[in-house]
C-alpha cells in the first residue's frame, strides 16, 4: 500500500519537475509547481498512516502555504503581464549579472 502511494507521488513529482524544466509559460510552470506540492502532500498522507497524524498536520500546512503562494504568485504574473504583455519566461530576464 505504502509502496504504491510513494510510486504515484514520485511519478507526480517527476511530471511536475519536468514540466517546470521544459515549459516557458509562467502559468504552466506555476501549475507544475503545484503538482510537485501535491505529490509531496500525498507522500505525507501515506506516511501518516504508519507514523501517526503528524503528516496530516503538515499537509494542512502545505496547503495553506501553497494557497498563499498561489495568491502572491498569480498576482505577480498578472503584474508582469500588464507590463510586458507576455508571460513567457524567456523574455523576462532583466535581472542578470
Amino acid at each position: 500500500m505504502l509502496a504504491e502511494s510513494l510510486a504515484i507521488s514520485a511519478v507526480l513529482f517527476t511530471i511536475g519537475v519536468v514540466g517546470v524544466l521544459v515549459h516557458r509559460n509562467a502559468i504552466i510552470i506555476f501549475m507544475c509547481v503545484e503538482l510537485m506540492l501535491t505529490a509531496v502532500n500525498l507522500t505525507f498522507v501515506a506516511f501518516s498512516r504508519f507514523y501517526g497524524a503528524t503528516g496530516q498536520v503538515f499537509v494542512v500546512f502545505v496547503m495553506t502555504v501553497s494557497a498563499a503562494e498561489a495568491a502572491v504568485g498569480l498576482a505577480i504574473i498578472i503584474a508582469i503581464f500588464r507590463h510586458r504583455q507576455t508571460v513567457n519566461l524567456s523574455d523576462i530576464n532583466l535581472l542578470k549579472g
Binding site: V17, V20, L21, R24, L89, S90, I92, N93, L94, L95, K96, G97
Partner: protein, 738 residues
C-alpha cells in the same frame, strides 16, 4: 639603583630645604608661558585678516597711516620680502606681558637658587626625582632633574640672556600677525633648553635635546609662507637627525656596557671602562657626532647659516647663545668619559679647530650681515670645542658664557640695523636687500647707540682686553698650548700623528682663526656703520635708532660683554691689576669637571709666568693686527650698493659660495637620495610592488571572481531551475552512493 641612593642622600643635601626645592619651577614657568601664548595664538586663527594664510593684501597705505616706526618689524628678518600682512594681533599686549614675564620670573628664581647654592658649598649634585619614567627590566630611568654648578651656569645664561632677547622681541616682532605664536615657540624653546641642562640622566637630556631641535625648526620656518624659510627649517631638522643618531648610539652603548644612564651613575662607573679603550672612544665619538649636529661643526654645520631665515632674535637666542652650545655642554657634562679617551678628545679639538678656521674664512666674504654672524658663530663654537677637546672644560664653558653675551649682542644689534633698513626700504617702496652690507654704510650717524654697542661686541669677539672674549679665548689657546707641552693628550697618538704636534697645530689654527675673526668682524663694522651711506638718498631719511625696548637689552648685553671676563680672570692678570677673585668660574666648576681636567692634564705642568705672558701677548697682537689689517685694506668708501656690485671672481667667489659645500652635499647625498627615492622606492617599490602587485593584484583577483559570478547570473529562470535540479540530484546521488 644609584640614582635612588643619591636621591636618598638628597634629604641631607646642603640645598634641601632651601629655595632650590623650587627647581622644578624653572622650566615650568616658560612651559606655562607656552601654553598661555599658544592658546592666545589659537584664538586668532579664526579671525581671518591676521591669519598668515589669509590672502595677502599690500599693506603700504595702512602702514603709512598708523605710522609707529616699528610697525613693520615683522618683516625685518625676511629677506626682501614684504608680503606679510601687517596687522597687530589682538592679544599682542597680553603676550608682551606673559612671554617675557615668565622668563624674567624664571631668571629671578635662578638667581635666588644661585645665591642659595653659593652659600651651600655643595660637592654632589642636588637631585630631584619626580617619577619613574621607563621602568623596564634593567633599564630604570627616572624623570629627574639635577642641579650642579655646571647646570647652574647654563640656567643663568639661558634665562638671563633669554629674558633679554624676549624683551628685545617685543619691539622686533610686535606687529607680526603671529605674535603670540612666536612667543609660544620661544617660551617652549626655553622650557626644553632648561630640561636639557637640568636633566639628571641622558634620556631626560635627550628630551630637551630633541625639544630644542623642534623649536629651532618651528622658529626657522616661522615665516613658513616663504618656501626658502620652510626649507631652511627642514634642513636644520634633518641634519640634526644625523647627529641625534650618534647620540642615541652613544646612549645604547653606555647602557649596554655600564647599565646606567644617569650622570651620577655614569660618573661613578666610568672608570670601569678601560681608559683609552675602543669602547669608551666609540661612545665619545658617537656622542660627539650628536654634538657636531647640534653645535654645527664640520661636517654637519651646513644647517646653521641657513637657519638665519628665522627672525633675528631667534638667531640670537637659539642659533648663537643657547641651543647651539648644547653640544659643548654635553661634552662638559660627559667630561669623565671624554677624559678617558684621548683619541676622542683630540678628535673633538681637531674638528673644532678646523671648523673654526673654515667658517672664519667663509665669514670673510659674506655680504649678508646675518650670514657673517652665522659663520662667526660656527667658528666660535669651534673654539669652544677646542676648549672641551683639550680637556679645558672650564675654558670651553667660559667661552660659551662670554660668547652668549657678545654674540647675542651682535645678533640683536644686527637685528636693529636690519629693522631700520627694512623700515627705510618699506617706506620708499624699494625692494633692495635690507640685510646686505653693501646697501648699508655710515649707519653710525643714524644709530649711535647700536654703533657703540656693536663695537663693544666686536672688540669682545676679536679678543681685545679687557673685553669678555679676550679672557675666554686666551684661556682656550693657553690651555691648548700647555696641553701640547705635556698631558695625556700630548702623549697619545691620533691616526699615527703624535698628540703634541697636533695640539701645536690646533693652537696655530686657533691663532689664525682669531686673526680672521678680528678681520671679518671689523669688516662688518666698517661696511655697516662707517663710510658713506649707500642705502639711497630718500631712504636715508627714514633710518633711525631702534626704540628703547630694543636698545635696553642691547645695553645690558653690552655691559656683560664688557665685564663678562671677570667671571674667570686668569691669575696672572689679577696679579698685575688686582681686580678681585681670580679664576672664579674655575673654582665654581671644580666639583663637576675638576677630576676629568686633572686626568687629561696629568703629566703636564703649569706653564711658567713668562710663557703665559708671551701667549697672552701673542693673542693680543694677533687681535690688534686683525683689526688693523681690516682698517688698512678695506675701503668702505669704494663699496657700491648690491645691485651695482660686480661679480666676484676667483677665490673670492669660492668663499662667497661657502666653498660650494652645499652644492657638494647636494651632489653627493641629496641628489642620489632623490634619485634612489624616485626610481627605486617610488617607481619601483611603491608603484610597482605595492600599487601594482599588492593593491591592484588583489583587486584583479576579486574582479575575476566577480566576473565569473556575474556570467552565471543569466536572468533566465529556466537555467536556474535546471541548476537547482542538477544540484539536488548531485547531492542526493552523493548521499546515496556514499
Amino acid at each position: 639603583m644609584l640614582l635612588q641612593q643619591v636621591a636618598a642622600q638628597a634629604a641631607s643635601h646642603p640645598l634641601s630645604g632651601t629655595v632650590a626645592e623650587w627647581l622644578w619651577l624653572l622650566p615650568v614657568l616658560p612651559l606655562a608661558g607656552f601654553v598661555a601664548n599658544g592658546l592666545l595664538s589659537l584664538n586668532s586663527a579664526r579671525l581671518g585678516p591676521s591669519d598668515p594664510n589669509a590672502p595677502h593684501h599690500h599693506p603700504h597705505s595702512l602702514a603709512a597711516a598708523d605710522a609707529p616706526a616699528i610697525s613693520h618689524a615683522e618683516q625685518a628678518g625676511a629677506v626682501g620680502d614684504d608680503h606679510h600682512a601687517v596687522k597687530r594681533h589682538r592679544w599682542a599686549g597680553l603676550t608682551s606681558i606673559i612671554g617675557p614675564g615668565v622668563l624674567v620670573a624664571s631668571f629671578l628664581l635662578a638667581l635666588s637658587i644661585f645665591f642659595a647654592m653659593k652659600g651651600a658649598h655643595m660637592e654632589t649634585p642636588f637631585i630631584q626625582r619626580y617619577f619613574s619614567w621607563m621602568p623596564a627590566g634593567d633599564l630604570q630611568i627616572d624623570a629627574a632633574f639635577q642641579l650642579d654648578q655646571l647646570s647652574m651656569v647654563m640656567v643663568l645664561v639661558i634665562t638671563g640672556v633669554g629674558a633679554l632677547i624676549h624683551i628685545f622681541s617685543i619691539g622686533y616682532m610686535r606687529d607680526d600677525p603671529g605674535y603670540p605664536r612666536y612667543f609660544a615657540y620661544l617660551n617652549l624653546f626655553v622650557f626644553f633648553m632648561l630640561v636639557l641642562v637640568l636633566g639628571a640622566n641622558y634620556p631626560v637630556l635627550f628630551v630637551g635635546w630633541e625639544g630644542v631641535g623642534l623649536c629651532s625648526y618651528l622658529l626657522i620656518g616661522y615665516w613658513f609662507s616663504e618656501k626658502a624659510n620652510a626649507d631652511a627649517g627642514k634642513k636644520a631638522f634633518i641634519v640634526n637627525r644625523i647627529g641625534d643618531f650618534g647620540f642615541l648610539v652613544a646612549m645604547f652603548l653606555l647602557f649596554a656596557n655600564l647599565g646606567v644612564l644617569d650622570f651620577a651613575g655614569v660618573n661613578a662607573k666610568a672608570t670601569e671602562l678601560q681608559a683609552g679603550g675602543a669602547l669608551v672612544t666609540a661612545i665619545c665619538l658617537f656622542m660627539f657626532l650628536g654634538c657636531a649636529g647640534k653645535s654645527a661643526q664640520i661636517p654637519l654645520y651646513v644647517w646653521l647659516p641657513d637657519a638665519m631665515a628665522g627672525p633675528t632674535p631667534v638667531s640670537a637666542l637659539i642659533h648663537a647663545a643657547t641651543m647651539v652650545t648644547a653640544g659643548v655642554y654635553l661634552i662638559a657634562r660627559s667630561a669623565v668619559l671624554f677624559s678617558l679617551s684621548p683619541v676622542a678628545s683630540l678628535t673633538v679639538a681637531i674638528v673644532g679647530a678646523v671648523t673654526a678656521i673654515f667658517a672664519a674664512t667663509i665669514g670673510l666674504k659674506q655680504w649678508d650681515i646675518k650670514k657673517v654672524l652665522a659663520y662667526s658663530t660656527v667658528s666660535q663654537l669651534g673654539y669652544m670645542f677646542i676648549g672641551v677637546g683639550v680637556g679645558a672644560y672650564v675654558s670651553g664653558v667660559f667661552h660659551l658664557v662670554t660668547h652668549a653675551f657678545f654674540k647675542a649682542l651682535l645678533f640683536l644689534g644686527a637685528g636693529s640695523v636690519i629693522h631700520a633698513m627694512h623700515v627705510a626700504y618699506h617706506r620708499t617702496h624699494s625692494h633692495d636687500d635690507a640685510q646686505d652690507m653693501r646697501n648699508m654704510g655710515g649707519l653710525r650717524r643714524f644709530m649711535p647707540v647700536t654703533w657703540v654697542l656693536m663695537w663693544i661686541a666686536t672688540l669682545a669677539i676679536s679678543g681685545i682686553p679687557p673685553f669678555a672674549g679676550f679672557f675666554s679665548k686666551d684661556e682656550i689657546l693657553g690651555a691648548t698650548f700647555s696641553r701640547a707641552q705635556g698631558s695625556t693628550l700630548a702623549s697619545a697618538t691620533w691616526l699615527g700623528i703624535p698628540g703634541s704636534s697636533l695640539l701645536y697645530a690646533i693652537y696655530a689654527l686657533g691663532l689664525i682663526s682669531a686673526l680672521l675673526t678680528a678681520i671679518y668682524m671689523t669688516r662688518l663694522m666698517l661696511y655697516t656703520f662707517h663710510g658713506p651711506n649707500r642705502t639711497g638718498a630718500t631712504e636715508e631719511g627714514y633710518l633711525h635708532e631702534a626704540p628703547w625696548v630694543m636698545t635696553g637689552p642691547l645695553v645690558v648685553l653690552g655691559v656683560l660683554s664688557l665685564i663678562g671676563g671677570w667671571l674667570n680672570i686668569p691669575k696672572i692678570a689679577n696679579d698685575l691689576l688686582g681686580l678681585g677673585p681670580s679664576e672664579s668660574l674655575h673654582h665654581w666648576l671644580e666639583p663637576v669637571v675638576g677630576g676629568a681636567t686633572a686626568r687629561i692634564a696629568a703629566g703636564g705642568h703649569h706653564p711658567t709666568v713668562t710663557l703665559e705672558e708671551i701667549l697672552i701677548g701673542a693673542a693680543i697682537v694677533i687681535a690688534i693686527a686683525g683689526i688693523a689689517i681690516a682698517f688698512a685694506r678695506l675701503k668702505p668708501a669704494r663699496l657700491v650698493p648690491k645691485r651695482e656690485a660686480r661679480q666676484e671672481e676667483g677665490f673670492e667667489r669660492v668663499l662667497l659660495n661657502k666653498y660650494f659645500v652645499d652644492e657638494g652635499y647636494d651632489r653627493a647625498i641629496v641628489n642620489p637620495t632623490y634619485a634612489i627615492s624616485r626610481t627605486v622606492l617610488w617607481k619601483g617599490v611603491d608603484n610597482g610592488l605595492i600599487d601594482g602587485f599588492l593593491v591592484n593584484g588583489s583587486a584583479a583577483v576579486a574582479r575575476g571572481f566577480g566576473w565569473v559570478g556575474s556570467r552565471l547570473q543569466t536572468g533566465s529562470t529556466g537555467i536556474y531551475a535546471w541548476a537547482v535540479v542538477v544540484g539536488v540530484i548531485a547531492v542526493l546521488g552523493a548521499f546515496t552512493l556514499r
